[in-house]
């Protein structure tokens, strides 16, 4: 199932003021892999995501995606190259309908120009109809099509998390970054979500990098795991290797017991 190298991160690091938030991170993902990124609170996981997606520009190191260097690109350019993400603290477009949330992510795939929309040319209607169909398809996968006209802010919490993933998927990524997708979910919802992630990965041939706090979950579905602590990678390997790694145990000491 795994194939060629998709993303390669070399010596990535960032400074805020004098503080080195993340440094010397080396990681890679092959096509089709599902990899976990774990670490205690404040270890730099989300900061790493922000660097991979262009929200922050790394102050050192390079990120190569699909054979091209992507650090220094703006977030929208990174997304258009094929990396999309979800947010730890849900960032849906609250006043937009569920369908429109997905359509926004679908934006870059449509081709009709602004002029065609202003003058309502045939290409506009064709383009909008295509967007509508594609977006509904995505909603169906996530069981959200029944809510399509609901405002995003009115969805129940678990559904909002799902919509975040549906939206990220609609941006047509090769690499999907999920930032704590199961945060705040109950065990049943978490279980369903994991099955869903496994499904979309197969269905869309996706590569997925996942930040998660719930250890059992990460250990259960990831093929490889990276562990961050104090802004540095302290371990990487299969779930089995990570579970027995003394450095990881030390980093997590005092936190919940590993799976």
């Amino acid at each position: 199932m795994t194939g060629n190298l998709l993303i390669n991160v070399e010596n990535m690091g960032i400074q805020f003021g004098g503080l080195k938030a993340v440094q010397g991170v080396n990681m890679y993902l092959n096509q089709g892999e599902l990899v976990g990124l774990i670490g205690p609170n404040g270890a730099g996981k989300t900061t790493s995501f922000n660097m991979l997606t262009g929200v922050y520009t790394p102050t050192e190191g390079t990120i190569t995606f699909d054979g091209k260097k992507i650090n220094g690109l703006a977030p929208y350019q990174v997304t258009q190259k094929g990396i999309s993400r979800t947010f730890q603290n849900i960032r849906l477009f609250k006043e937009l309908s569920v369908l429109d949330n997905v359509k926004v992510a679908n934006h870059s795939l449509a081709k009709h120009s602004m002029w065609s929309s202003i003058f309502r040319l045939p290409t506009h209607f064709k383009g909008e109809a295509e967007m509508e169909n594609q977006s509904i398809e995505f909603l169906k996968i996530f069981g959200l099509d029944v809510y399509k006209d609901e405002l995003a802010k009115n969805l129940p919490y678990g559904m909002q998390r799902r919509l975040e993933i549906a939206r990220a998927l609609a941006a047509n990524p090769k690499l999907l970054l999920l930032d704590e997708p199961a945060a705040g979910m109950n065990p049943q919802e978490t279980h369903d979500l994991m099955e869903l992630i496994a499904f979309i990965r197969k269905e869309f041939g996706l590569t997925i990098l996942l930040i998660e706090h719930d250890m059992s979950l990460v250990m259960g579905i990831c093929e490889r795991i990276y562990v961050l602590d104090h802004g540095q990678l302290i371990a990487d390997g299969t779930p089995e290797e990570i579970r027995n790694n003394p450095k990881v145990i030390e980093a997590y000491l005092g936190e919940e017991v590993i799976g």
Binding site: V55, Y76, D100, M114, S117, R167, A168, A171
Partner: protein
Amino acid sequence: MKKSKVFWGYAVIALVIYAVIQLLITTEVIDMYYKNMLITMCINIMLAVSLHIVIGVTGQFSIGHAGFLAVGAYVSAIITTKLMLPFPLAIFLGALAAAVAGLIVGIPTLRLKGDYLAIATLGFAEIIRIVFLNTDYVGGAAGMQVKYLSNWTYAFFGVALTILVISNFTNSRHGRACISIREDEIAADAMGINTTYYKVVAFAIGSFFAGLAGAIFAHNFYIIQPTTFGFLKSFDILIYVVLGGLGSLSGSVIAAIFLTVISTYLANFPETRMIIYSLVLIIVMLYRPTGLMGTKEITDLFKFGKKGGTK
């Protein structure tokens, strides 16, 4: 198609309104005073809708809209009065000049957020005004003589064009991109929306129609002066959008109509007018900060589609 039926329904109603009022003006049932009020109303609607695309749709808080009104007014006035070219061309070029001004202002400032953007747009509007104030070619502080060329037809079709273009833009992938910026700029960026591009586009479209309004405004009275385009004018436009509902096109239109009527009647009591305006603004912000309509459109309230379709 269902959607185009709705469109033709609106078009027919619009034409009927136009024709009836034109008839009343020709037969002098509507006198000068009310005719002027109607044209002013149209100008204010154009201004409201053109600011709505910037604040309501894209969420970029501009409080210097009068600057673009001024550009449209002065440029069109120069074209008709100094260059002796036809009025329709002047309207177009005035609007275009305002759009260019919008680009010049927008490109550097739109990366700012919230109140910083507001202050920067205010600053630019003042600079635009001071430039006209100090340019002898357009009469400086004394102002510039302009021909009386505006009429109900120009004003009405100006409004129709403004609403048509801005609502078409809003109800497309481009408009959705702008709305997503209003909702959450970081998430929009992460979904592949070029946020800077769309902010500048919305700003330029808004400025274009403010310029269009400016052209009709300039030719609706015999003189234009820099003092007309100060901060208070920007504030007048802002209150239409805020009162009507940030994000509601029909809301801003309704607010513009309503406030034009009120301020026409209070024309002889400018202080009272300002006191009422500012009180309304404060009360709305304290008790209903989304404005009267919120992000809803009047068409959401009653299903207009069927009615329009049977016409």
